[in-house]
Amino acid sequence: MTASVFEPWNDPEAKPLIHFQNVTKRFGEFTAIDNLTIDIYEREFYALLGPSGCGKTTLMRMLAGFETPTEGKIFLAGQDIAPVPPNKRAVNMMFQSYALFPHLSIWENIAFGLKREGMAKADIQQRVEEMLRLTRLEKFARRKPHQISGGQRQRVALARSLAKAPKLLLLDEPLGALDKKLRQDTQFELMDIQEKTGTTFVIVTHDQEEAMTVASRVAVMDHGKIIQVATPDRIYETPNSVYVADFIGDVNLIEGTARPTGSDTYAMSWHEGLPPLKVQSPNSLSDGQKCHLAIRPEKVAINAEKPADADNAVQGRILDIAYLGNISTYHVELPTGAVIKAQTANTRRIARRAFTWEDTVWLSWTATAGVLLAE
C-alpha cells in the first residue's frame, strides 16, 4: 500500500468539518461576504489569502459566532451552528487585534479559557507552562499585556487560543508581528501541533510564503468572494484567473489571442511580426479568445545566445537587475515595449555575473511553463 496522501477534498465520501452554504453577510448596504460556498475538512490547514477588507476576518467571526450570516447556513460537523452561542462552540479564535485582557497577567490570560472549563489547578499550571514554553514567553508570565512588546503580545494571543486545544482553531494573522526566524519556527510549531492533535486550522495571512509553507489548501478571496481554492502548488502553478496569478507571487502577464492547436495546446499570437507562443494549458479557450499568458519569472531562462530547442524564445534588452541575495531578477524589455521578468539563482559570486545592464539577451521557456488565462 502506498502512503495515502491527505486529500479529503478529492474524496467524494469525505464529510467536511465546516460547510459554508451560500453564505452572504451584509453590513447595511455593504456586502462583506458574497454568496460564499466552501468546504473545510478535518485536520486541514486552511489558509485564507486576500487583500485588506476582502472579508477574511468576517468569515472567521461567523465561524466563531460573533456574526450571523445574513443569508445562507454554516454547518460544523454536519450541524447548523446558527443557534449555538460562541461560548458553546468547540472553536477558538485568535483575534487580529489580540484582545488580551489588560487587567490580567500573561499567565492568567493563557489560563483564562482553561479555568472556564473547570480544569484542575495542577493541570492548568502544567498546560499554561507548556504554552509559555511553546511561545517562548516563560520570562514574561507575570507581566501585564501593556508591559510586553507587540510581537510578544501576538504570541500571548496565540498561546491563549491554543491552550484549550479546540477542534477548530481560527488564527487571524497569527504571526504578522514576528521576525522572520521566529515566524518560521512558530509555523513549524503550528504544523507540529496540528500533526499531534489533529486540530483543524483556518489561518488568515498576508504572507504568501507562510500560506505556502503551512497550508494544505489556500483560498484566495476578493470582495467577499472565493476566487480559487487549491493546494499551494496548484494555486501557484495553475491559477484559475489573472487575479490569482497576480496576487500570489510574481508573475509575467502577456496579452494575446488564443488559437487551439491540439486538445490542450495553443498558439498564442501576441505581437505582429513575432511568432506565436506555444502553450500547453489546462484551461480550455475558444479560437480567437482574448487571453493572458501567465508565467513565473523563475520559469523564464535567460541566455546570451538563442537556445536551439526552446519552445518559445524572445529577444530583449536588460533594463534592470534586482539582486536579492540568493536570486537575481532581470527586467528585460522586449522590442514590443513589454517588460518580462526572469529569475536565476545566484550560483556564482555577483562579480562574475554573466549579464549586465543594456545587454541583449534571449529569454526562453517551455510550452508547459505558463498557463493561459481567459480575460
Binding site: A64, P86, F95, S97, F101, F112, G113, R160
Partner: protein, 294 residues
C-alpha cells in the same frame, strides 16, 4: 522657566485663597471660646496685645467637648452609615445606566449624556423641594399608588431616612454615572468576544472582564458620591425626619440655632480631617488610572 512658574502659581494661589485661608480661619475659630458678642467668639486678634497673648488664649476645649457629648460621634457614625449605604445604592442604580449608555448606538450617546446632565440646569434646592412634593403623604407618589390600588393607606416616606436615600441617589447619580460611563465606553468590545470565545457566558464575561475593567470608574464614582454625602446638609434637613442624624445637620444647627461658632467650627474641622482619607484614596485611584492609560 518664568512661564512655568506662573502656570503652576495660578492653581496654587487659587488653592491658597479659596481653601487654605478659609480653613485657617475656621481652625482658628474652633480653637476659640464662645462669647455673647459679634462675632460670637473670643479672642479677637488685637494688634496692641501682640500675637503671643493671642495664641496663648487658644485651646482645644471644643474638640474635647465633641468627645464628651455622644451626639457628635453618633452623628458622625450615622453620616458614615448613610453615606456608605447611599453610595452603594447609587452604584446599583448608576452602573446599569452607564452600561446602557456605553452600549447604546453612537448617535444616541450625546442625547443620553445630555439627559444625565440636564438636572444640573435647575437649582439643586428646587429639585430637592420638588421631591418633597413627590414624597409627601398627599404627594404625587402616594396619589399614584392609591390610584392604582397598590396601597390603601398613604405611605410615610417624607421625613424618614428612606426619603434621604431617595434624595441622595437622585442628586448624586450623575457623579456615579459619568466616570463609570467613561470607563465602559473605552472598553474594547473584542475583549468580551474573546472571553465568550474562551468559554464565558454573557454573565461571567461581565463579571470577569467588564467589571474589573470598569473598576477605576466605579471607585472614582463612589468617592465622588461618598465624599459630599458624608457632609450633606440640605437633603437630610429637607427630606429627613427628626431622627435623621447627620453631621451636616448638626453643624448647621450649632452654627445657626445655637450660634456656637467655635463648636460648629470644631465639628467642621473634624469632618474635614475624616474626609481627607477618602480624598487621598480617590487621588491615588485617579493617578493609577492615568498611569495605566499611558
Amino acid at each position: 522657566m518664568m512661564r512655568r512658574f506662573f502656570l503652576i502659581a495660578i492653581p496654587y494661589a487659587w488653592l491658597l485663597a479659596l481653601f487654605l485661608v478659609p480653613f485657617a480661619i475656621v481652625l482658628k475659630i474652633s480653637l476659640s471660646d464662645y462669647a455673647v458678642s459679634i462675632p460670637p467668639y473670643v479672642p479677637q486678634f488685637d494688634w496692641a496685645e501682640g500675637i503671643g497673648t493671642f495664641i496663648a488664649q487658644l485651646d482645644f476645649e471644643n474638640f474635647i467637648w465633641l468627645t464628651e457629648d455622644d451626639l457628635y460621634w453618633k452623628a458622625y457614625l450615622s453620616s458614615l452609615k448613610i453615606a456608605l449605604i447611599s453610595t452603594f445604592l447609587t452604584l446599583l442604580a448608576g452602573y446599569p445606566i452607564a452600561y446602557g449608555m456605553a452600549r447604546a448606538p453612537d448617535e444616541w450617546r450625546p442625547t443620553l449624556m445630555m439627559l444625565v446632565i440636564l438636572p444640573f440646569w435647575t437649582s439643586f434646592l428646587i429639585r430637592v423641594y420638588a421631591w418633597m412634593g413627590i414624597l409627601s403623604n398627599e404627594g404625587f407618589l402616594n396619589q399614584f399608588l392609591l390610584w392604582t390600588g397598590v396601597i390603601s393607606e398613604p405611605l410615610t416616606i417624607l421625613n424618614t431616612n428612606s426619603a434621604v436615600y431617595i434624595g441622595v441617589i437622585y442628586t448624586y447619580l450623575p457623579f456615579m454615572i459619568l466616570p463609570i460611563y467613561s470607563a465602559l465606553e473605552r472598553l474594547d468590545g473584542s475583549l468580551i468576544e474573546a472571553a465568550e470565545d474562551l468559554g464565558c457566558s454573557r454573565l461571567s464575561a461581565f463579571w470577569l472582564v467588564t467589571v474589573p475593567l470598569s473598576k477605576n470608574g466605579i471607585i472614582a464614582g463612589s468617592f465622588l458620591v461618598f465624599i459630599p454625602v458624608l457632609g450633606e446638609f440640605v437633603i437630610p434637613s429637607l427630606l429627613g425626619g427628626s431622627d435623621t442624624l447627620m453631621i451636616g445637620k448638626v453643624l448647621w444647627e450649632e452654627f445657626f440655632s445655637n450660634r456656637d461658632w467655635p463648636v460648629a467650627s470644631a465639628v467642621a474641622v473634624v469632618l474635614l480631617l475624616l474626609l481627607i482619607i477618602p480624598i487621598v484614596l480617590f487621588q491615588r485611584n485617579q493617578q493609577k488610572q492615568q498611569e495605566a492609560e499611558q
